[in-house]
């Protein structure tokens, strides 16, 4: 199965795992989920929209990353996914 990763489990970072899927889906596991779930979700939705809702599943494990870090990690994971042969 096609798969890519980016990020880390360190504090203030997040880990993004992308796997092949039949629809565009995502799951969020965040240490600050109770406060920032909607905000994190919006970051993911915006990036996936920019990539035309690819047929992938995004699994985000967040350790308190700022929005810009989540966006950067997701973008890199997507680029790696597409570059994977």
């Amino acid at each position: 199965m096609k798969r890519s990763y980016c990020g880390s489990f360190a504090s203030c970072d997040c880990f993004v795992e992308i796997t092949e899927a039949s629809t565009c889906t995502y799951t969020i596991d965040s240490v600050v989920d109770v406060f920032f779930h909607d905000q994190i979700e919006q970051v993911i939705v915006n990036v996936l929209h920019e990539f035309n809702h690819p047929l992938i599943h995004v699994k985000l494990t967040d350790k308190g990353a700022f929005d810009y870090s989540i966006e950067a990690r997701l973008r890199t994971a997507l680029e790696r996914y597409y570059h994977e042969t």
């Binding site: 504090s11 203030c12 810009y68 870090s69 790696r80």
Partner: protein, 287 residues
């Protein structure tokens, strides 16, 4: 003024989040040596997003790109020009590489106001530093002592005599071109006395600032490259005495038993200007 330039690893969000808490003049987000080869793309993306997100108004933001001779450079340059840091640090600089970088910037964005800070760290770079200093967009040059020593196949010492000539050449070329000269970092982050000594030597040679590899080096470097209270006091006396003698059409004179002439007056004026820029002295205080 660019007295202290702190290198920060480009792939560490916890550090990038706090880039402006360090009391330095510039930060250098590093995409080169501080990032493993497998994480170059992740670091580039993270630094780009950080630059777009934070304003970091108190500090100048530079990014050290991967070498012009690597497959990463073009992607680094294109992404960073869009993210608009204040400047780009170009490693292993020679006339050829900096000319090439300028051409590539012109091709991507001819009106870019981005500044270039070549990192001169090879014997070839040192021998070409006078020309590098006057190339377009170049506003400062950092001397890289460790890579230089490696290229020369010589051992680095704390005293630094093995890099004395190279340091001096960088300082002179930058002064001649009226741009900043930055000294190589002091690599022992626990030796504050050694750092102060090394920074003082760099200042004596004409460097305008020094790179730091740990936040605990910033205070010492800032202090060394700032005019001291005593130096400001003496400069004020020299300027005042010189201008009084000028009014009486007198040229050279003696102050505290030491000759004061125009170059000494100019140096004192320059020091006061630096102090003014740093908020350490105001001309109105004199009146």
């Amino acid at each position: 003024m660019r007295r202290s330039l702190l290198f920060l690893p480009g792939n560490n969000p916890a550090i990038l989040n706090n880039a402006d808490v360090f009391d330095c003049d510039c930060v250098i987000f590093d995409l080169e040596d501080a990032v493993s080869i497998d994480e170059k793309d992740a670091a580039r993306s993270l630094v780009v997003q950080a630059l777009k997100t934070f304003e970091h108004t108190k500090i100048e933001r530079l990014v050290r790109l991967n070498g012009v001779d690597t497959s990463l450079f073009q992607a680094d340059l294109a992404a960073l020009l869009e993210a608009k840091p204040d400047g780009l640090m170009i490693p292993k600089a020679t006339v050829e590489t900096i000319t090439s970088v300028n051409q590539q910037i012109d091709a991507l964005d001819a009106h870019s106001s981005i500044l270039l800070f070549p990192l001169v760290e090879s014997p070839k770079g040192i021998l070409e530093v006078q020309t590098i200093a006057i190339l377009p967009r170049v506003k400062g040059i950092l001397f890289g002592g460790e890579d230089f020593a490696q290229s020369m196949q010589i051992e680095r010492t704390k005293e630094g005599w093995e890099i004395f000539t190279a340091r001096s050449l960088v300082a002179m070329a930058c002064k001649a071109a009226n741009i900043d000269a930055f000294d190589t970092p002091f690599t022992d982050t626990f030796d504050e006395v050694g750092l102060r000594k090394d920074a003082l030597l760099a200042k004596q040679l004409g460097m305008s600032g020094k790179a730091c590899i740990h936040p605990n080096q910033i205070a010492v470097v800032q202090a060394v490259f700032s005019p001291s209270e005593q130096a400001i006091f003496q400069a004020r006396r020299i300027v005042k005495a010189f201008e009084e003698h000028q009014k009486q059409n007198k040229g050279v004179f003696s102050l505290d038993g030491k000759m004061v002439d125009k170059p000494i007056y100019e140096r004192a004026k320059h020091l006061l200007e630096e102090a003014r820029q740093l908020g350490l002295w105001r001309e109105s205080d004199e009146k």
